[in-house]
């Protein structure tokens, strides 16, 4: 396919790897923000081809993975209602809530449907005027234009049996939170190309300046990632800390203004809890008051629900890059893509799922033994962030 195959050329990739080796004189730690980038890096073994000492930390940029347990539990509470058709991107269906997941609920008779686009959910609402159709509006800035359009179209066309359960997260506040952390080891970022396609990169300029970190807007194909890594290392080696754009063919500095207008027509910025990370101020979108009638949380009055992460799951430390899946006792043993404990194993973009798909650390060392008590541990209560962080230590 055009604009894909060209960026997977192994000869060009080898040239880029050689150039990275040539310019690298010191160890550097970089983070790729987006789960799609993590998938390519792990699948293609890009991290293993880098000079010794150059480390890729896999960032929190998987929307499925950072959706807080409370929101999943709210989704389950809404989806269980007989008057509801619950619609979602496919990845969210297997994300474990406190007691079950959407897929299991569907198997028990709930009307849960996978849609490719929120506009498909809107079509379902039009076709079923006597049912309530709810869309699980998760994602980063990339899905926000689509989710905002669905709400705005519902308002324009008077589709009142449509509502959205919003769990929108933003990249720059998460990067800032990571950089503020005393445990931070990230010296440079590959910013998520498609987030920047929508939003541009002006938000990243003050971050690069304040924290003195290079930020390279990077695409998703192997050559994009290698070039992004090369550009970030070149900045580090030269002592620069700027925002640069590797993904020139798709990203302009100002982003897509019409998409941004639509986002801010429907949403406003507010605090958001990230699964395994905790609450980050001004790190997500919520519906503006004028669109409150499309807010599923209000429509169905789903109250606060306690977070109960699995005690063996170190999702928080994985999401912040403090640990890798190979550090986890559950990885590959009691936590697999077929039966995930935590969100990073659910989505193909999650770090654990990416490692599992590439067969990393699965050399028969960890097999599920019936004698192992791990599977029977009772869930512990309390805040998810502290819980997973503690479990990680």
């Amino acid at each position: 396919m055009k604009y894909l195959d060209e960026y997977r050329d192994p000869v060009l990739a080898a040239k880029l790897v050689a150039e990275i080796h040539r310019i690298t004189t010191r160890p550097w730690t970089l983070m790729e923000v987006c789960g799609g980038q993590t998938h390519t890096i792990v699948k293609q073994g890009i991290d293993e081809a880098l000079p010794e000492g150059v480390r890729m930390i896999h960032g929190p940029g998987c929307p499925v993975c950072v959706t807080p347990l409370e929101q999943v539990d709210k989704a389950l509470a809404i989806a269980a209602r007989p008057d509801v058709i619950f619609t979602s991107y496919g990845d969210m269906l297997r994300v474990p809530g406190s007691t079950t997941d959407l897929l299991a609920l569907k198997a028990r008779g709930a009307d849960v449907r996978i849609v490719y686009s929120p506009l498909d959910a809107l079509k379902i609402a039009v076709a079923n005027p006597d049912r309530q159709v709810v869309f699980f509006a998760v994602g980063f800035e990339t899905t926000a234009p689509a989710n905002a359009m669905a709400v705005s179209e519902a308002a324009r066309r008077g589709i009142d049996n449509f509502s959205v359960l919003v769990s929108h997260v933003l990249v720059p506040p998460a990067m800032t939170a990571l950089l503020e952390s005393p445990n931070n080891r990230v010296q440079g970022f590959l910013a998520a190309g498609h987030v920047c396609a929508v939003m541009g990169w002006t938000e990243y300029e003050p971050i690069a300046a304040k924290y003195r970190v290079p930020i390279v807007v990077t695409g998703f194909e192997p050559l994009d990632l290698l070039e992004g890594i090369l550009m970030a290392i070149r900045q580090l080696e030269e002592g620069r800390h700027e925002v640069e754009n590797q993904y020139v063919r798709a990203v302009r500095r100002e982003g897509v203004p019409l998409a941004q207008e639509q986002i801010f027509e429907v949403f406003e910025v507010g605090e958001r809890t990230w699964r395994g990370v905790g609450e980050i101020p001004a790190s997500g979108y919520r519906l503006r008051e004028k669109y409150a009638r499309f807010d599923a949380e209000r429509k169905f009055d789903v109250g606060d629900i306690h977070t109960q992460e699995h005690p063996a799951c170190i999702a928080g430390a994985i999401l912040t890059g403090e640990k890798v899946p190979l550090d986890c006792t559950a990885y590959g043993a009691i936590c697999t893509p077929q039966k995930p404990l935590g969100a990073p194993m659910v989505s193909a973009e999650g770090t654990c799922a990416a490692f599992f798909a590439a067969g990393r650390g699965l050399g028969g060392l960890r097999t599920l033994s019936p004698a192992m008590p791990l599977v029977q541990v009772a869930p512990i209560s309390g805040g998810g962030a502290a819980t997973t962080a503690e479990a990680a230590r």
Binding site: P10, P222, L223, L226
Partner: protein
């Protein structure tokens, strides 16, 4: 869900006031909303994400990137030739440009860029 894929716009239409179109992904055609990229023309490449065009692919820039990458191997070889054997363990590049040994020790064996 989160992956954006480049495809070619093969149809543009108005769907009850919403600019929509069909986009071809190497033979598979899908509906997509084109509202955010009003300048899009038939035949343009766009990046589609959850059913929405979020960027028009700049053909000139796409080709430029590939050209730069294509010349890079020669630069690397030229640079290496000037280094001479002075370093403890100079990076060695094989005929296809793959580093086979070097200061970092780790040989690279066809890891990146395989068929995806």
């Amino acid at each position: 869900m989160c992956l954006g894929i480049p495809g070619r716009v093969v149809e543009i239409r108005d769907d009850a006031g919403l600019p929509m179109g069909k986009v071809d992904f190497g033979g598979v055609r899908k509906d997509a909303c084109l509202a955010y990229i009003p300048e899009v023309q038939l035949g343009d490449y766009v990046i589609i994400h959850v059913g929405f065009a979020i960027s028009r692919v700049d053909e000139e820039e796409a080709l430029k990137t590939l050209e730069i990458l294509a010349t890079m191997g020669d630069l690397v070889r030229a640079e290496l030739a000037t280094m001479g054997p002075g370093m403890d363990e100079p990076a060695v590049v094989s005929d296809d440009g793959t580093p086979v040994s070097g200061v970092f020790g780790a040989p690279v064996t066809g890891a990146p860029g395989g068929p995806a």
